[in-house]
């Protein structure tokens, strides 16, 4: 929304700060001026950014009222402004006395008094020409005013209206339609003009009939429901109330006589209708956030007068004004709000300036600001509180706290001091904070970089990578994001795919994040950890190049799991998920609980995703892992006696696994054997030095005692028994000279 500073100043003749200062002061009070642009006439165009709760301030008069409150200046009534600026005599006012303002309520004029004066609260009325107005849908329409302007000449706008439209970038349509838009920008109440001669009989504000069709001003035709509110004549709907006028009754260059409408509609009704038809207009924006029921007559008169001035028309004396009492009560006659002075001061806290009341907000400011914003305050006898009448254009004000905010806002937030509260509570840590930190620490140290991925996944990927059913989204961002991710794997596999496509040859990533399962009725959400390794595996003396990446990831998973106190880990190659290449993965369980899955991506998936290197992935189920306590380090005194290494070389059939070797050797129960590690595994493809179906294993044992130096005799004995045990499982000891 844009504001012309010169127009704004018409409402505030006493304003003497310059435009830039005005813009800054408004911004600091929440009426944000985002841009100030100099205009040829010496004034400025303000680009406004006003929060959605302040629809009352999205027009020149509304911003002027804010400035009046900030500077403590008098604000012209709209009628006085009209007389001074639209350059014509007083418009005949058959109804409420506009100069004392339904719209701009003067001090001391109570709302209840005004209500008494407003004797025209009635369900229907007829004007002199027989155009009756009837509000049938009283639950959706609060007020409807109408007036006829005759003998108009509809043509292009000229003069001030044309100039201001140009400056504001507002599209000019015709002098008649522009009059409504000009008034909209002036005071923010939507009005509508009908071609009177297209109407048949009186006006009725009613719900649409089911199946009723209506062609709108934008040329579209809408199929209406009984939840839509329409302005209709005897025959048919003329316009979609509060949203857009109709095509058939629109004002054209041929129009001679005009009916001016200014009305008030229920916010929820307009919002629902506007959403149903996908129509968001200036009018619907205002109505759905709350227009000013008290401004209808004023808006109607201002537009009527503008039509007289710009289209050369003559207004009928009769003015029709129908108000629904229930809505009157909810808007203009809302209950008074009690504002406690000390509570206000204490809640807002310390101010920078020190006044008579100390460094809290001065009491006289409270009264001054609220009055300037259109409230009326009546102090209690003891002065401890005010009874506050609320202005009809501020439906956002309802409670004491709303008034406290207004006071702080107009005073200026930055005039409050920076204080720190004292605190009596303690700090509590999340249950898994330490476990989560440990997992991250280990993975970062192992060279895995942290990634964050999408919360969503495609259905096919989810089915492939997760065993649990995925929960569908109702309005997915895209087809590939149709479900909540049931696993982190689709995300990290996608990342590897992207890296590969960008010629990144080596990837080590991990992600910690929530995964989802269950149903659309109840969604289960739990943390998970995924690892991704792509390319760059390094073969060792015990691990072949083709297996290197798997064992690297196995090592990382072992390192992570090893930080927790778990039952013995079991790596099982049975029953692998579909994404794992058969024979090239494992489920890792402890005490019957699966903690992780590790595997090479299947060849089919690798080809599908055009991965140029090996890719190994793992998912660690954190709830199961975090159920195990973290390892608590405790020190053991290192032995002071010498450690002795002994290497042995054996030939085994492929059927003998490392675990079999360990079991056989450990089965000897040699307490002094502190370490047993494979050093080299060798297979000969040609079957020469090692026969086909066999491999040679060089392994290393380390012996050490905490109490004494080991003797050659002991060592020899142990070695002999190890050879015996391994021979027992089919191994053939290779003498050193043969090795």
């Amino acid at each position: 929304m844009n504001i012309l500073s010169k127009w704004l100043r018409e409402y505030l003749p006493a304003l003497d700060v310059d435009d830039r200062q005005l813009a800054e002061d408004l911004t600091l009070r929440g009426i944000a001026v985002e841009g100030v642009h100099e205009l040829p006439d010496g004034g400025h165009l303000f680009e406004m950014d006003i929060t959605t709760n302040r629809v009352d301030a999205m027009n020149h008069y509304g911003v002027a009222r804010e400035a009046a409150a900030i500077y403590g200046l008098p604000l012209l009534t709209l009628e006085d402004w009209r007389v001074a600026n639209v350059e014509a005599g007083p418009v005949p006012v058959p109804d409420d006395d506009l100069s004392v303002g339904e719209y701009s309520l003067p001090r001391g004029h109570t709302l209840s008094g005004l209500s008494d004066a407003n004797k025209k609260v009635a369900p229907s009325q007829a004007d002199a020409a027989g155009h009756s107005v009837r509000i049938e849908a009283e639950d959706l329409c609060g007020r409807f005013t109408a007036r006829v302007v005759r003998s108009v000449t509809v043509e292009a706008s000229t003069g001030l209206v044309a100039e201001r439209f140009a400056a504001l970038g507002q599209k000019s349509i015709s002098n008649a339609v522009d009059a409504t838009n000009y008034n909209w920008m002036a005071m923010g109440h939507p009005t509508h003009v009908f071609d009177l001669d297209t109407l048949q009989g009186g006006i009725v504000v009613r719900r649409a009939h089911a199946g009723e069709m209506l062609r709108l001003l934008d040329g579209s035709t809408k199929l209406l429901t009984i939840d839509d509110l329409v302005i209709a004549d005897e025959r048919k709907a003329l316009g979609l109330a509060g949203i857009m006028g109709g095509w058939d009754s629109r004002v054209t260059e041929a129009t001679k006589n005009i009916l001016v409408e200014a009305a008030w509609f229920s916010p929820t009704a307009i919002r629902a209708s506007s959403r149903r038809h996908g129509l968001h207009t200036d009018a619907s924006h205002r109505y759905e956030r709350g227009a000013d029921l008290g401004a209808c007559a004023s808006a109607n008169q201002l537009v009527t007068r503008a039509l007289e001035v710009s289209c050369g028309g003559v207004a009928d004396a009769a003015f029709t004004d129908v108000t629904v009492a229930a809505w009157e009560k909810k808007t203009r006659q809302r209950p008074r709000v009690t504002l406690r002075v000390r509570y206000t001061q204490e809640f807002l806290g310390t101010t920078i300036e020190i006044g008579e009341s100390g460094n809290v907000l001065p009491e006289d400011k409270i009264e001054q600001y609220l009055e300037a914003l259109g409230c009326h305050l009546r102090p209690s006898v003891d002065g401890a509180r005010f009874e506050v009448n609320l202005p009809s254009w501020r439906l956002d004000l309802e409670r004491e706290i709303d008034l406290v905010e207004e006071i702080a806002r107009v005073y200026g937030y930055n005039r409050f001091a920076d204080t720190l509260p004292s605190f009596s509570g303690g700090v509590t840590a999340l249950p898994f904070a330490a476990a989560d930190a440990k997992v991250r620490e280990v993975l970062l140290a192992l060279g895995y970089t942290e990634a964050l991925g999408s919360t969503f996944a495609g259905e096919a990927d989810s089915a492939l990578f997760a065993q649990k059913a995925a929960v569908a989204m109702g309005n997915p961002l895209s087809a590939e994001a149709g479900v909540l991710r049931p696993s982190l794997l689709p995300g990290v596999v996608g990342m590897v795919e992207q890296n590969s496509a960008r010629d990144v040859r080596e990837v080590r990533l991990f992600e910690v994040g929530n995964v989802f399962s269950g149903s659309t009725e109840t969604v289960a959400e739990e943390p998970s950890l995924a690892l991704a390794a792509f390319g760059g595996g390094v073969k060792t003396r015990t691990i072949a190049a083709a297996d290197a990446l798997f064992f690297e990831v196995k090592g990382a998973v072992e390192e992570v799991l090893g930080r927790f106190v778990t039952p013995a880990l079991l790596w099982s190659g049975a029953d692998l998920p579909a994404w794992v290449e058969p024979g090239r993965g494992a489920r890792v369980s402890a005490g019957g609980v699966v903690l992780a899955v590790v595997g090479e991506l299947s060849i089919a998936e690798r080809e599908e995703r055009k991965l140029r290197e090996d890719a190994v992935f793992a998912e660690v189920y954190l709830p199961a892992l975090f159920a195990c306590p973290l390892q608590q380090p405790s020190a053991v005194e290192p032995s002071r006696f010498q450690a002795v290494e002994r290497d042995l070389s054996f030939l085994f059939s492929d059927a003998v696994r490392w675990a079999d070797v360990v079991a056989a050797v450990r089965g000897l129960g040699i307490a002094e054997m502190i370490s047993l590690e494979p050093v080299e595994i060798y297979r000969d493809a040609k079957g020469k030095s090692v026969a086909a179906g066999e491999y040679s294993l060089l392994f290393r044992m380390v012996f050490q005692s905490g109490e004494r130096t080991l003797t050659e005799q002991e060592l020899g004995g142990w070695q002999e028994s190890v050879v015996g045990a391994l021979t027992g499982i089919g191994g053939r000891h290779r003498a050193p000279e043969a090795a």
């Binding site: 809640f347 920076d418 509260p421 509570g425 996608g494 992207q498 659309t520």
Partner: protein, 372 residues
């Protein structure tokens, strides 16, 4: 081999001594250039660095003997420095030219080998740093689910059903919710604020919470918007918490995070769950307020939304506490509080100069490894 140690030095004249040293170094530089082959280098080494006959050692011996004793110490130090420099030059020349010597000594110009280090995600890092600032002020970390009910995400935060305020937070919803009561409908939380509600329902004041987390909105992606993003939010509730306490706390936190010279200023704003509400700007920590690209030349950067907890929020919390069989604990006649929140991506983008928000979620190694 024209250079020989001069015998005509006037040791009482500093100029004369300096010239002798300069001549020595110049001659060295000439000859070392010429010593290409292994033989030549060995010859050169003996001529210059030989134990007794080498020019360097002979020079040292002869000149120090000749120099007046008062100046011996100073000259000795000077000569030693020259000797060190010449030794280094000789080795450097050898490393660059002589393959024979290279085999034995290290090529110090080769890059060191290392295991790649893993890098924490820049968003995790930003959240961790922000949380640490509030932890130091006595705030505890609280977390909550990413799939929320309408009640926790909207209703309890004073977004009534069908209220225009909901338009500002376009929501991703779980399928098949339309038949359920409005408050039970499942959706992706649009902010971390539901954790405030959950925490207050779970326990009475005083509360001081800092809440990092992932949130979702049904927004189009562009360079600065992502439907998935992160927030860090805070909540402080106790007796007698004031608006000036909110100001002071955030001013302190911004100084702790961005540096003590940072200033804050508060503007009225609107959030359904706070009143009064404010937007907070900080003076640009990158240019000190003078104006730069990061602050769009304004000297200020908008960073936080905040406000005093709206009484309607406390009322919703107490109503749910009673439903759950708990005592009401958030009576506004005694209790007040403030809440604040900030976008993590925005801060990280600004801090690290990230141009496209989508990179945070790309898993691109080339992008992520820059944050080591």
């Amino acid at each position: 081999m024209s250079y020989e140690l001069p015998s005509n030095i006037d040791f009482s004249s500093p100029e004369s001594v300096s010239k002798a040293l300069a001549d020595l170094q110049a001659a060295f530089a000439d000859e070392v250039q010429a010593a290409h082959s292994a033989d030549a280098r060995e010859h050169f080494r003996v001529r210059w660095f030989g134990d007794k006959a080498g020019l360097v050692n002979r020079g040292a011996g002869a000149w120090i003997k000749a120099i007046p004793s008062a100046e011996k110490r100073e000259f000795g130090a000077k000569f030693n420095a020259v000797k060190v420099r010449l030794t280094e030059e000789f080795q450097a020349a050898g490393a660059a030219r002589s393959s024979a010597t290279m085999a034995a000594s290290l090529d110090l110009t080769l890059p060191g080998t290392r295991r790649g280090v893993g890098v924490e995600h820049p968003l995790t890092r930003t959240m961790r740093e922000m949380v640490a600032v509030f932890a130091a002020l006595g705030y505890s970390v609280a977390l909550g689910p990413e799939v929320e009910t309408d009640f926790f995400n909207f209703e309890a935060l004073n977004f009534p059903p069908n209220h225009p305020a909901r338009d500002t937070q376009d929501t991703l919803v779980i399928a098949d919710q339309s038949s359920r009561p409005s408050r039970e409908r499942l959706l992706m939380r649009t902010h971390t604020s539901p954790v405030q509600i959950r925490s207050m329902i779970a326990g009475p004041p005083p509360l001081r919470l800092v809440i990092p987390g992932k949130v979702h909105r049904n927004d189009e992606s562009d360079a600065t918007h992502s439907p998935i993003f992160h927030q860090v939010e805070g909540l402080c509730v106790d007796r007698g918490i004031t608006f000036s306490d909110l100001k002071g706390t955030l001013d302190h936190a911004m100084k702790a995070f961005f540096g003590s010279s940072v200033k804050t200023r508060f503007f009225p704003s609107f959030f359904p769950f706070t009143e009064p509400s404010a937007d907070v700007q900080i003076s640009c920590p990158f240019c000190g307020g003078a104006g730069c690209r990061k602050c769009k030349h304004s000297g200020w950067i908008e960073l936080l939304g905040c406000g005093m907890v709206d009484p309607a929020v406390f009322a919703a919390v107490d109503a749910r506490r009673v439903e759950n069989g708990l005592e009401p604990a958030y009576d506004v006649s005694g209790i007040s509080g403030f809440a604040f929140g900030m976008g993590v991506e925005r801060i990280a983008m600004m801090k690290y100069g990230v141009g496209d928000i989508g990179q945070f979620y790309s898993g691109d190694m080339r992008f992520l490894q820059q944050f080591a």
